[in-house]
Amino acid sequence: MKRKYIPWAFLSIPLTFYSIWVIGPTIYTMYLSLTEWDGMTAPEFQGIDNYLKLFNDPIFYTSLVNNIKWLVIFMAIPVVVGLFLAILLSKEIKWARGYKAAIYSPMILAPVVIGLIWSWIYQPQGGLLNNTLTYIGLEGLTRGWLSNPNTALYAVIGAAVWRHTGYVMLLFLSGLTAISPTVIEASRIDGASAWQRFRYIILPLLKPTTVIVIVITMIQSLRAFDFVSMMTRGGPFNSTNVLAHYMYTEAFKNYNMGYGASIAVVLFAIMFIFIVMYLRQIRKGELE
């Protein structure tokens, strides 16, 4: 009898905090999304007006599409490159440790710092990228990377990719160490080629890690905010806006708290799908 209550006693404190600071505000945000509120006077209930407005808002769609582009690029580049690097560096290569540290190091920098560094790299005059292009004779390719609406989004994502790749590599590296060397050895004795070994032994054994990497990457690309805020503030004319940043602008710059909340709820709903997937995978791992 007593034993049954002990876990709850321990849980009560974190649960209280969690309810006050996470669950409570989440529910309150959902309520706010049904109101009109300038952040100063009392919120006014107005039903689903915010959502109707949202689904007719061109900036909402621009931001959503940008989030999707972000997601696709994040799935393609950091995941693949991270896996490749992990496999490469898990081998006995000279300086492997040094390379790992170097590739992982962007992860320890704050995104704001990375945003600033890359803004300098992208500077049209005297920026590293344009200077390098000029130096190697590709002057025709130089441009204002962050000021041109056609390149700005990709330039911002580029900075985020630089940070995320190291993280993915680290996750895969830890996944690789969990694979028993005897399995690899056995496949080698059976005469499997390097590709076969990768395709039929390593990749299936890496599956739990892969799922986690994919879900984390999805969540990272949906919650993208810091790089956009730091490098372009969603500009030029919303060409780099993403949902999280649009929500921030509406709520805290234009003081449409209710409207901002409705963007937050939509973003939450999209993310929720991925979070459930993630939790399921983790539970599965625990059951095994």
Binding site: G39, M40, T41, Y122, Q123, P124, Q125, R143, G144, W145, L146, S147, N148, P149, R233, G235, P236, F237, N238, T249, F252, K253, N254, Y255, N256
Partner: protein, 415 residues
Amino acid sequence: MNFKNLSLIVITLLMVMVLSFSAAAQDTLVVNTYTSDPAPRKAMKELVAQYEEMNPDVDVELNITAHEDFKQAIRVWLTSDNPPDVFSWFAGNRAGYFVDRGLVMDITDVWEEENFYEKFPKAFQSISVYDGKAYFLPHNYYWWSVFYRESIFEEYGLEEPQTWDEFLEVGETLKENGITPFAIGTKFRWTAAAFFDYFDMRINGAKFHKDLMAGKIPFTDDRVADVFEKWKYLIENDYFIENAAAYSWQEALQFLNSGDAAMYLMGQFILDATSEEVSKDLDFFRFPIIDKEVPVAEDLPTDGFMIPKKAPHPELAKDFIAFLGSVEGQRLFAEDLGRLVTNKNMDAEVYDGLTLKGREMIDNTDELAQFYDRDMDPELADKTMDSLMAFWYAPENYRNIMEEMEAHRQNFIND
């Protein structure tokens, strides 16, 4: 981390909290300002020190916050139960916003006691008095104009242009010599809005401009098209530096500093931001006249101070406000910052050459405006400035841009 370390940290934190609470409990006048650039920050600090010297029994706590952060925080302060006693703020739509919501204190008594109705030029009453009651203390203001490198103009024998045709001639000469006429950094958009303001005021006049800013006239009006036509000509004929959107206004100063660009349409505060050497080489002229029939108007953003309704020390706050309206309370901003100040009794000797020239220009101005995002509803301004950036990128589409701006205005009206 072991338990001992943890408890040490907890105790330290508790002590810090207790100490800061007891500090806050002391009676002090709290003044929050956004004068965060180095020169205004210094002037504000010295101004407070001056007041403390005059009132030895008053302790002033000055909190300086960066512009953008200040704009966010002020909303929290004003609705909280413990707001600052005095805060710096912008005249125009932004001041009216707080007045409408009953968040700031009526300071008519200060205006009457100090006779600010007489001491300030009449134009400032319209931005300070709402329904017969004064809420705002206009403190200092600056003018907008085309700042230029004197040495470059001298080198090519150029004169300050008065009219649009003269201006275009100057521009062509500069371009022939490989110099971009205008430096501009539009990353944060408002620098571009200045061009909209000036074209509109020069072509359509201040009356039309004010109504347009107030959302009373559709953006699809043909007179707005004239504005974009003129502006488009400059963009398409390379009057601006390349990739302007990549730079903040300060970053774009490098082109003026290096002499790659000759002019910058900017507020007087450009003089605070350039090196002394370049600053000495800067002069300015009034944005050229396009239509002689149109009364001359200028953007003249005014900064001042207000008292929150729930200010804990209203009497002290009012005394401080009275000081800020006096010649003594304005001298530092005039002398050290070269701002124009509102008190008419300020002796002209405190102004340096350019500021005097600015004052002279304003004396010969018929109408005043604040600035695009100070005259307009903040949200409408925010949305339409995006449209201005889209126009900058593809100026030939200005009709679509006007439609887009009009859609934003419709949303604004319906809200």
